[in-house]
Amino acid sequence: MSADSRRGTDPGPTDSGSTDTTAADPQSSRWYDAEAGPVVRPYAMTRGRTSSASRHRLDLIALVVPEPAAEDPGRDQTLAPEHVTIVELCSDAPQSIAELAAELDLPVGVVRVLVGDLVEDELVHVTRPVPPAELPDVNILREVINGLRAL
């Protein structure tokens, strides 16, 4: 998601007469370093997959919680470094999909696929956020109000 939208606003390398501050000098209006985007394109990390095997679409605020088997994710040689990083990030405190995407600087779609792999391997499980038809009930809302007042 973020990569796609970012691409839409990057100052183009060939924009002639651009007055944008990042491209003040037309001779230097080339993409260097971080400007050029990631060396490995995001969906290469998922081997081209855009959806995971898990049936559920993971909500942005679904929390990723490590299973006991995730104690040493480095031992599983089939995991990519990004998988290992996700498990490590979650082992201190459960992280939401949105937080993982921001932390890893990867599109949410990529994080969903990687987390789906970890669920498949039973290294993590994912909390289901409040299902639309059931909660949040009025008690939870009251607790939120009280909690905010105490801030």
Partner: protein, 202 residues
């Protein structure tokens, strides 16, 4: 340090209930600022410099000094209790990113529509969006320096809002001001839940 690690895993972390509130409004109205003011974490964001490509599209009148705009997710977190976490999502400000809204709105507890009285029409789309989906929302007028100050009733009438929709004046830079806006949203959601006897989330 095998000891430290295994003891951490044995003690399973609590699994909090997560909720979300959206912060919507026109381009440059202060959504990112508002999220940052109350978030306990460094607001996680993808901000990109507004490029030449966006210049014909993004109307900068009244916000000429703004040089960056949020084009993607932008969110913060408030841990209400150990087992209750509130996430705030700033919605993309420009019309051409509306396709991102439906996912953000899914399961949202409520929304804040930030308004700027100099460009009130910018928030029409957001108001309309939440009205149609019956997502409880409040309108918060971000009091910019140099913008005319209008009483909340005037803004309510100008936006032709349902009388039950709370309208507040706020300062998006101020933590307690934004917190009060969030409390108003949740109270509004609570009132509606109690009245309708139906679930709040949509």
């Amino acid at each position: 340090m095998a000891f430290g690690r295994s003891s951490r895993v044995k003690q399973r972390p609590v699994e909090p209930v997560t909720l979300k509130i959206l912060v919507a409004g026109g381009f440059g109205v202060g959504k990112t600022t508002a999220v940052g003011a109350v978030s306990e974490i460094r607001p996680l964001r993808t901000e990109e410099r507004l490029s030449e490509a966006g210049r014909p599209v993004d109307d900068l009148e009244g916000v000429e000094s703004k040089t960056t705009t949020t084009v993607a997710m932008d969110f913060g977190r408030i841990t209400v209790r150990e087992d209750l976490v509130l996430y705030l999502f700033g919605t993309p400000g420009q019309d051409r990113f509306w396709f991102l809204w439906d996912e953000l709105a899914q399961g949202a507890l409520g929304a804040v529509v930030l308004a700027d009285t100099r460009r009130l029409e910018d928030c029409f789309a957001a108001v309309d969006y939440f009205e149609r989906r019956r997502i409880p929302f409040t309108v918060a007028v971000n009091c910019f320096e140099g913008a005319g100050q209008f009483p909340a009733e005037t803004v309510q009438a100008a936006l032709d809002l349902d009388p039950e929709v709370p309208v507040l004046l706020c300062d998006a830079r101020d933590r307690s001001s934004v917190r009060d806006v969030l409390i108003a949203v949740v109270e509004h959601a609570l009132e509606r839940a109690a009245r309708d006897g139906r679930p709040v989330a949509t």
